[in-house]
C-alpha cells in the first residue's frame, strides 16, 4: 500500500462514474436517477481535483467549485420539476411519463 498516484485517483474516478452511469441506466425512479447523476458529477470532480493537485494548478479546484455550485442549482430546479410532475401525474417513474413520447 504505497502512496496513491494520479493513476489511482483517475481509475477510482472512472469506476465511480461508471457506477453512476449504470444507475441512470438501470433505475426507473427519477429521484434515484438524479442521485446517480450526482455521483457522476462527483466522479468528474474527483478527477479534476486529482489533476489539479498532481500538476500544481489551483485552477482545477476553481472549476470544481463551479461544478459544485451548478450541481446544487441543478438539484434544486430538478427536484422542483419532479415535485410539480408528481402533482400532475402522481408518479416519479421515468417510463410512466410519456407525454412527449412519439
Amino acid at each position: 500500500m504505497g502512496t496513491p498516484t494520479l493513476g489511482h485517483y483517475l481509475v477510482l474516478s472512472g469506476l465511480l462514474f461508471a457506477i453512476g452511469l449504470a444507475g441512470v441506466i438501470a433505475r426507473r425512479d427519477l429521484l434515484i436517477m438524479y442521485m446517480c447523476l450526482e455521483i457522476m458529477l462527483n466522479a468528474a470532480n474527483l478527477s479534476l481535483v486529482a489533476f489539479s493537485r498532481f500538476t500544481q494548478q489551483v485552477r482545477g479546484e476553481v472549476f470544481v467549485f463551479f461544478v459544485i455550485t451548478v450541481a446544487a442549482v441543478e438539484v434544486a430546479v430538478g427536484l422542483a420539476l419532479l415535485v410539480s410532475l408528481y402533482r400532475m401525474k402522481r408518479t416519479t417513474k421515468a417510463e410512466e411519463i410519456t407525454a412527449l413520447k412519439f
Binding site: 494520479l6 461508471a18 457506477i19 449504470a22 429521484l31 434515484i32 455521483i39 493537485r53 467549485f65 422542483a80
Partner: protein, 163 residues
C-alpha cells in the same frame, strides 16, 4: 498511512455508490449517497484540497442531501419500493461498469500524463482559490451568482400551486 486511507476511502466510496444504485428504498439510497459524498470529501482532504473538502460537506452532504430527503418525504415514495429493478437495465448497467472500468484501467496508465509522478507540494489552499475566484475568474463567479438567483426564482415559480 496515506495509502491505507486512500484504499479505505476508495472501498467506502465505491461500496456506498453501489448501494445508492441497488437499494430499493429511496431513503436508504439517499443515506448511501451521503456516505459516498463524505468519503469523497475525505479523498479531497487526502489530496490536500481542504477548502473543497469543506465545501463538499457543506453543499452536498448538507444542503443537497437535505433537499433530497425532503423530497423523498414529501412525495411519500414508499409505494415505489416494491418496483423491481429492470433486469435488462441492470445487465446493461453492469456491462457499462465493466467496459468503462476496463477502458479506464488500461487507458489511464498508458496516457501521456505522468500518472505515477509524485503529488505536488501543498500551497495555501483556500487563499489561492479565493485569489483566483475574485481575480481571473471574477466574471464566471458573478455569473454563477446570477445562476443561483435565477434558480431560486425558478424553483419558487415551479413549486407554486397555481402560477
Amino acid at each position: 498511512m496515506e495509502g491505507f486511507l486512500f484504499w479505505f476511502l476508495a472501498v467506502v466510496l465505491l461500496g456506498s455508490a453501489v448501494a445508492v444504485v441497488v437499494n430499493r428504498s429511496p431513503v436508504a439510497s439517499a443515506l448511501s449517497l451521503v456516505t459516498t459524498i463524505l468519503a469523497l470529501a475525505g479523498l479531497f482532504g487526502l489530496l490536500g484540497a481542504y477548502f473543497l473538502a469543506a465545501v463538499q460537506v457543506w453543499v452536498y452532504a448538507g444542503a443537497v442531501m437535505v433537499l433530497f430527503l425532503f423530497i423523498v418525504m414529501l412525495l411519500d415514495l414508499k409505494a415505489e419500493e416494491a418496483a423491481p429493478i429492470r433486469t435488462l437495465g441492470m445487465g446493461a448497467g453492469l456491462l457499462t461498469v465493466i467496459l468503462l472500468g476496463a477502458g479506464f484501467w488500461h487507458a489511464i496508465p498508458a496516457s501521456a500524463w505522468e500518472a505515477n509522478g509524485a503529488r505536488a507540494e501543498e500551497a495555501n489552499n483556500a487563499a489561492s482559490i479565493g485569489h483566483l475566484l475574485f481575480g481571473a475568474y471574477l466574471l464566471p463567479f458573478e455569473a454563477v451568482g446570477l445562476l443561483l438567483l435565477v434558480a431560486m426564482v425558478g424553483v419558487i415559480v415551479l413549486s407554486k400551486r397555481d402560477v
